[in-house]
């Protein structure tokens, strides 16, 4: 399988601030990859660089085998609408629908029409006056109707109601199955979207903390909960991502897979143990104070390869 996106040792600094720190990420062709992490983790910067709208301070980026920056042939194969996308003055929906196909060789009018209809995107209101959800709808229309071989969806859920979210998932999966492509979807609403992914990348503080197949995420970390002293004892020699304590009870998210031994030990001591779900893992990583020498980093190497 070839890689649609290949980032090697990518750094991006803005003045003193480090937005991306030694990012190595590959996304194989024909997958839906979740790009997860807290606000400010570097998701938008990473997408911007993949989309050729920004350049790394150092490192190498290839999209469909070529550097994207100022590369017309790559950009024609790529779609990226940022969550705070600005549109030209006095634009309305029809302006967007009229010009977008000129830049997107695989554009589908049917997909656009069905989404516009389903989302009830207003035709007469200037885009400047759109609500958050309506702006997200336009971004989804652009992203999905372009049928771009590499489609980057930046926080597509912002302001979408339940019906719109279901419509988005429905269209995404149907059109993706009929016209396979590579989709990267960034979001901090993990529960909303985790079933869509076959790959996930978790960023925190500009660093890649997890880059793996979605099914393997369950083996990355587990949660333990029970009496505080019991949990305390069980996690003593583990790499703990986060803990919560309340009135003698404790839950902890810990790096590593649940094996039979751990399961037996926990059960014998009356503690509950379960693989961490994706959203638990993202939350725990977001809480984790990135210590300088982070043992978790070595542990996930196997998964990253």
């Amino acid at each position: 399988m070839t890689n649609a996106i290949d980032m090697q040792a990518v750094n991006r600094r803005f003045g003193d601030a480090i937005a991306l720190d030694a990012v190595d990420v590959t996304v194989p062709e024909g997958s839906i990859c979740g790009l997860l992490g807290r606000n400010g983790a570097g998701k938008a910067t990473m997408m911007s660089i993949i989309a050729g709208q920004d350049r790394p301070s150092s490192g190498r980026v290839e999209v469909l085998g070529q550097e994207p920056f100022e590369n017309e042939s790559v950009l024609a194969m790529l779609s990226f609408v940022r969550d705070n996308q600005r549109y030209p003055d006095d634009y309305r929906l029809h302006h967007v629908l009229r010009i977008a196909p000129d830049f997107a060789p695989h554009w589908s009018d049917e997909v656009a029409a069905e989404l516009v209809d389903g989302f009830r995107v207003p035709a007469r209101t200037p885009i400047k006056k759109f609500s958050r959800g309506q702006l997200s709808s336009v971004a989804i229309v652009l992203g999905l109707a372009s049928r771009a071989p590499v489609t980057l969806l930046d926080e597509p859920y912002l302001g979408l109601d339940v019906t719109a979210r279901a419509l988005f998932h429905d269209m995404l999966l149907r059109d993706y199955a009929a016209h396979p492509r590579t989709i990267v979807l960034s979001t901090h609403l993990v529960q909303e979207s985790e079933a869509l992914f076959d790959r996930v990348v978790i960023l925190d503080g500009g660093k890649v903390r997890v880059s793996s197949e979605a099914d393997d995420v369950r083996d990355l970390a587990f949660t333990l909960s029970g009496a505080a002293d019991v949990v305390q004892g069980l996690i003593a020699r583990s790499t703990v991502l986060s803990t919560h304590t309340v009135a003698g009870l404790m839950s902890a998210t810990v790096w590593g897979a649940v094996d039979d031994e751990a399961r037996t030990r926990a059960r014998d001591l009356g503690a509950r143990i379960a693989p961490a779900s994706l959203h638990e893992l993202v939350a725990a990583i977001g809480e984790h104070d990135p210590a300088p020498a982070d043992p978790a980093h070595d542990e996930q190497k196997g998964v990253r390869a």
Partner: protein
């Protein structure tokens, strides 16, 4: 190349702003010019008299009214269109070239409108009552070749200068346009300091084509500046 054409289409996508607003403005100016002429008429001035013609031909209202709109158009062609062009997949290079091409098309369009209206004005003996709206000194006073050159270069200058200010804004935020403005003021002041002793001689030797050359220089500098500013610009 195709992205250059697509960028031109992206600009022309704002059909009303590109094609109709210049007509509205021209129409408004015509109405105002007529109203002013009426005031002069009522105050005793006679249409057709030498004094009347001299007075109304000196009215450059059309230029001021169009100029501010055209600078706005130039600014918005970059400020809000650039981020969207990148989103659609234009390169910075194709955006810059496409924007210049669009500016040339718009300039030709405005020049054509004013040329037609000017010809019509003269053909109807100044709208049958001696009103001068387009047949004015600043537009060449009836010389069509001169009118087209003046309007084309003037509009192109306004659009590209607006564009370079917007590029500075895209690149550096609010400080950008201020820096350019400061730079222009300093260069002009320096030129003035150097040239003032010879001012009388220069005024004596002044030729209209000097302005054309100045416009071409401004257009070239603005377009190059736009390219240099946008190339490293990051949209956030």
């Amino acid at each position: 190349m195709s992205a250059v054409i697509s960028t031109v289409k992206l600009h022309l996508n704002r059909r009303e702003t590109t094609f109709l607003v210049p007509l509205y403005i021209t129409g408004m100016v015509a109405v105002f010019s007529v109203l002013i002429s009426l005031v002069f008429w009522r105050s005793g001035s006679q249409p057709g008299s030498a004094e009347w013609i001299q007075g109304s031909q000196s009215n450059p209202g059309i230029v001021y009214a169009l100029l501010s709109f055209l600078v706005y158009l130039g600014v918005s062609s970059v400020a809000t269109t650039f981020p969207f062009a990148l989103t659609l997949g234009a390169t910075r290079r194709s955006f810059t070239v496409g924007t210049l091409l669009w500016a040339a098309i718009t300039s030709a369009y405005v020049a054509a409108i004013l040329a037609v209206l000017s010809v019509a004005e003269r053909a109807t003996d100044h709208w049958f009552v001696g009103f001068y709206v387009f047949d004015v000194h600043v537009l060449g006073a009836g010389d069509i070749g001169r009118l087209v050159t003046i309007v084309f270069l003037g509009v192109l200058t306004a659009l590209t200068v607006g564009g370079v200010f917007a590029s500075a804004w895209v690149r550096f935020g609010a400080r950008g346009p201020q820096l350019i403005a400061a730079g222009v003021v300093i260069v002009l002041a320096a030129a003035l300091i150097v040239l003032v002793p010879a001012a009388a001689g220069i005024a004596e030797a002044f030729q209209l084509w000097w302005l054309a050359v100045a416009a071409l220089v401004a257009i070239a500098l603005s377009s190059t500046g736009t390219w240099l500013l946008l190339r490293p610009a990051v949209v956030r």
